[in-house]
Amino acid sequence: MSNEDYLSDISEIKNLMNKSSRFISLSGLSGILAGIYALIGAAIAYCLVITYSGGTLYIFHGWVFWTCMAVLLMVALLSAVTGMLLTTKKAKKNGEKIWDNSSKRLLFNFLVPLAVGGIYCTIILSQGRYGQTGGLMLIFYGLALVSASKYSLGDIKYLGYIQIVLGLIASYYPGFGFWLWVLGFGIMHIVYGTWMHFKYDTK
């Protein structure tokens, strides 16, 4: 065997290891869009609260509270749908299957912490402890990203760590919860999405 054969062996090994254990067709663009949705959603919620709840972000009541929840749900839903659409498109381009062992494992490891966090936040909200939810959402979302990163592009974990740190700060200073949420879900998604887009998508 020649040197080139050995080199191609090594790259083949690397390729197979990644292909068989990681789902790498995540789209950076969907991160940017998710960040924009989050910013728009936050702006709507902020205007509502300022105008109708006397400017305090933490005493929600009546329809303002439910509208904010609906906006939050819409942001999550839109981000998930956008993510799925763009990822399917990218997977097709890469010749990667959208629904195989690696994507199933990725989704499972992402959704378990996220679902636990979602349920927990709902409980906290139902008890009227609004101040903590921003931080909790960030923490659980960060944990979900870290847990998913082993089965996808490893870079996701850095976004996860950032979200966790922001979440912890938010739980210590609930007064900044809203702004840290904006920073984590809005700005960080856009920054990270842009970085991923230029690192992986434009090649």
């Binding site: 065997m1 040197n3 050995y6 080199l7 062996d9 090594i10 083949e12 090994i13 690397k14 197979l16 290891m17 292909k19 068989s20 254990s21 062992n101």
Partner: protein, 97 residues
Amino acid sequence: MSIITNINKLFDHRIRLGIMSILMVNEYADFNMLKELLGATDGNLASHTKALEKAEYILVEKQFIGRKPNTRYSTTKLGKAEFKKHIEALEKLIKKT
């Protein structure tokens, strides 16, 4: 030439190298998953898994999922160690020239 001695003849084939690569990073893989990833035919893949099984580099478990027979593979400790040695030898060879 101690490097050459670490090049494992048993891995000197694309399919076998592929099987080991996949099993190194996955707890286990079944026959169909290997087949799809490697683009090999049934007979070809079976002969290579048999060779690796005979060397005790991989473990073969046959089971039933519902009524369908399913064969799944995992690496043994020996297989992992041998594969690592092989990769290291390959890397050294490339660096040398």
